[in-house]
Symmetry: C2
Subunit: 240 residues, 2 copies
């Protein structure tokens, strides 16, 4: 077989779905190149980028269909395409309909219940102010903070239903739903004071540790940007 | 082949994802029974219902895996399982990876960009007050109203990228992404005054008409509850 051509990932590593893709390509050994596209500099709003994604959202992947390159947005959709690569272990997106259904549902819960609160809250507390981007009014931020706290409860319920030592979709090994949700919660680490204000429960932290453990050293390397974001936030007195 | 056993759908037809499932089962001829579960009466919060979905969210489907029945939550995940039924026309969730990727991405945009604004706004304006359920503060509702308006713009961009006469994922026939997004926008019809305040663009309305057209009479029959909701809202003086 000819060498596989690399997938191109347009990513801002400060952003959760971008990190999920880059960590996944590295951990699964998918040939890829990362084109850093900075949200704070508006690099996702250029005419060139809008040709890849008219909605001007990151991340975007350029994938191969035979000789033809095509662009796909939305991290969940991209992860599913990456799982078609033969080198990706099957546990990330199992083919059995019943297990796949559970993974799809957990990915949907990520979008409808977990991401909403965490992403708006962390953005308003730190990423927005650092990038000099407009943030929602305080009432809106507080309301999303409440959603983020409920997300920890949702995760508790999902892990309890999955069973002892299992991942969110009930599997014995992690899936793309675990990766996506763990990267979402990881962004809270960039917010000074979140350890007190917005701390996942011990069960959720144990699950995160299990997910991270299987993705090292890529998890820490790709996530190191959050340490820098946190330091910059501390320097500006930004807090939870 | 033995007669297929019916899928059981737990649904509140006032809720968009519930309607999407029921319309789909009817239109695709999937044997099913609907168990009406009323959110306003807290019927999704009973211990029995939490055995089906620990997160206490509607809809839930009970599907068959051979002789064994299993429960799955989240409408997108359920729709994908229903598309495995051999009687469902392939256009609803095409198997070609590239087209399936585009459908998955459009479903993700439904969750991350379109549903968020529309669902919170319509709930706060009408469904919440009618059900005597707590609604978010005004600033939060207004912010989500802004998101709902941006969703129309997102839909314009997606339809423009899809091409003349095409559906959101670029296909010539509708997919489960069209169904899900159309049911989401449909709920705005329950809000008196939304015709002025929160009106999709002509292009989006034309696309909705195309989606609905292929789903009649099921679309109108399942959606008739929204006419009653609107009348009840008008009687109570609720408005956009």
């Amino acid at each position: 077989m000819a060498a596989r051509r690399p997938v191109t990932i347009y990513a801002d590593l400060v952003s959760q779905p971008s990190r999920a893709l880059v960590v996944f390509c590295r951990a699964a050994g998918i040939p890829h190149e990362v084109k850093i596209t900075r949200i704070a500099r508006g690099e996702h709003r250029t005419p060139e980028f809008r040709k890849l994604n008219p909605l001007a959202q990151l991340p975007v992947a350029q994938l191969w269909d035979g000789e033809e390159q095509w662009a796909l947005a939305e991290s969940h959709a991209i992860l599913k395409q990456l799982c078609l690569h033969p080198e990706v272990p099957e546990h990330w997106y199992p083919e059995s309909p019943r297990v796949r259904g559970a993974v799809d549902a957990a990915l949907d819960v990520h979008h409808t219940r977990i991401r909403r609160g965490c992403a708006v809250w962390a953005f308003a507390k730190v990423m927005g102010p650092l990038g000099k981007l407009p943030v929602p009014p305080k009432e809106v931020v507080d309301w999303h903070g409440g959603m983020a706290r409920r997300a920890f409860k949702d995760m508790e319920l999902m892990l309890e239903a999955a069973g002892e030592g299992r991942f969110v979709a009930g599997t014995a090994e992690p899936t793309i739903a675990d990766l996506s949700i763990a990267c979402e919660l990881q962004q809270l680490e960039a917010v000074p004071g979140a350890d007190d204000e917005m701390r996942p429960t011990p069960r959720v932290l144990q699950w995160m540790s299990d997910v991270k453990g299987g993705l090292q050293p890529h998890w820490d390397e790709v996530g190191s940007v959050l340490t820098k974001v946190r330091a910059a936030a501390e320097a500006q007195g930004l807090r939870a």
